[in-house]
Amino acid sequence: MKQLTHILEGFGSTLQLLLRSLSYIGTLPRQRGRFIEQCYLIGYTTLPIVAILSFFIGSVLALQAGYSMQNFGAKQFIGSLVGLSMARELGPVMVAILLAGRVGSAITAELASMKVYQEIDALVTMNIPPARILVLPRLAAVLVMVPVLAIIADLVGWFGGAIVTKYVSFISIEPEAYFSVLRRYMKFKDVLNGLIKAEVFGFGVVLVCCNIGLNTRGGPREIGAAVTRAVVVSLILILVLDYFVTKALL
């Protein structure tokens, strides 16, 4: 019962934080500096790890697909399989998980320490709502940066698959054929689908992490606990949201 109350409390406070942040949306142009900084942290610094991970996910996907499909002569469809899997599912989910691990944990740690060391209280005392200067720029930045990360993840994943299909001896499909099949069986709608998913996941992850950080109570030890909880809740949220968003977008 206590657990359920905690979950419901978490939902409620997250929703309240969202509404409070949105109420300050008019102040966003004045917070350009904070917005750019968050964009840099969320987008630019996350790019290398997203690129590396996507490349290998695309490669492994092509490798596994080639290994499985060679048994019934469907190797030439690897391009469409890798393309659709990356664009519709793996790209957005991997970006969101990396965001939770790298950006979400950082946000929670920062806000939790601010809360523990009473910086947040000081802001409130100065009549500066934390939702306005700490949450809104992050939400705006994630909305702008996640699609960019997702499209890069998709393309890098496709190229990873193309390289594997060309150079692995038991697959050996030319990149032209790989991309021809990928183009034939994919529509931009599939990619857009993935971008929307990534947007929803990223937004959810940042919101949850901000909320957990701002609601930290206790001493410095609680900062670590808050970060752990933020990452776990983000991962669960991503996978639960994944099902429903996918179902809604089909």
Partner: protein, 330 residues
């Protein structure tokens, strides 16, 4: 706060994202940058089956374009084909939907058409032909399977019976078990017969095994041939005789073909008839002898008298013989 370098990086990153999204959109949705150059043709079908936009158009197996659009046009489905500018399609060429694989990959196959036919103009409609798809083939195979199953089950009923009467196997089994003794006897007899044949016993056995019989047969045939040649000679002789007879030579010839002999014969026959008539009427000595009983009775009386005289002589015979013997003794 943030430095200009950071801002520039974020801006560049965002622009990169926009550019990549645009390129992906153009590539996947056939934007103008990558749009296939060429001209359109319309292909109308009853059903486009699994044909999708972006599927290939091939002529004799070579890709010459793509399916640009699929649409419903009244009571039929139309595929708009984008054909490469360098390719000319003859006006009598025929398009059909061809299955490239079992997992629903199709393309439009166009045959070469005749060489002299004028090429189709952009926007023209190409002739189409319906080809059976996998579903039709599967349905036919299914009905064939049902027929086969029916035939096999009736065959099975014939062999194994339908529960009421026994099947062929049961009947055969019963026949064999009921007549096992007879069959066994028959087999023994057959074995015995074949044994005899093998040993050269009996007529057929000798016929099979004895070479002398063969020689005899050959000799008999040779004799038969000789007889046949003799018969041939005989027939030739007979033909010669008949020819002689026909030409009126010899007695028979004269008899058949000479009128004098015929007349003589007629006179002789007439004489014979008059003699027989007299005999029948009892005229003359012979006639009386045949027809008159008096002579018979007289002859019978005479014979009786003679018989009695002989009997008298027989009775006196022994006495006379004794007298003669006595006389000679004394």
């Amino acid at each position: 706060m943030n430095n200009p370098q950071q801002t520039a990086r974020v801006g560049l990153f965002f622009l990169l994202g926009l550019a990549l999204t645009w390129v992906t959109f153009e590539t996947l949705s056939g934007g103008k940058v990558f749009k296939d150059k060429g001209y359109n043709l319309i292909a109308g079908f009853e059903s486009l089956k699994e044909l999708k936009e972006g599927d290939e158009v091939r002529m004799a197996g070579v890709k010459i374009g793509t399916v640009e659009k699929t649409r419903l046009a009244g009571r039929r489905a139309e595929a708009v084909l984008r054909i490469d500018n360098t390719i000319r399609i003859a006006s009598d060429a025929t398009a059909s939907i061809v299955m490239a694989g079992l997992i629903g990959t199709n393309y439009i196959g166009i045959d070469l058409g005749s060489e002299k036919a004028p090429p189709l103009q952009p926007g023209a409609e190409i002739h189409t032909r319906v080809t059976p798809d996998l579903n039709t083939i599967m349905t036919e195979i299914g009905s064939l399977g049902q027929k086969l199953e029916g035939a096999l089950s009736s065959f099975g009923t014939t062999l194994n019976g339908d529960g009421k009467g026994g099947g062929l196997f049961q009947k055969l089994d019963k026949l064999v078990s009921d007549n096992s003794e007879r069959v066994s006897t028959t087999m023994t007899n057959l074995q015995e017969i074949t044994g005899k044949l093998n040993r050269g016993e009996g007529t057929i056995g000798k016929l099979i095994n004895d070479p002398s019989l063969h020689d005899q047969l050959v000799a008999a045939i040779a004799e038969f041939k000789a007889t046949a040649s003799q018969a041939q000679a005989f027939v030739a002789d007979a033909q010669g005789i008949v020819a002689q007879v026909k030409s009126g030579k010899g007695t028979i010839g004269a008899l058949l073909y000479d009128d004098t002999a015929g007349n003589d014969l007629k006179a002789t026959v007439a004489n014979l008839r008059s003699v027989s008539d007299k005999l029948a009427k009892g005229e003359g000595t012979l006639g009386k002898l045949i027809n008159d009983d008096t002579l018979y009775n007289t002859a019978q009386g005479t014979l009786k008298k003679a018989d009695r005289a002989l009997d008298g002589m027989n009775d006196a015979g022994p006495i006379t013989a004794v007298g003669i013997v006595a006389n000679s003794l004394f």
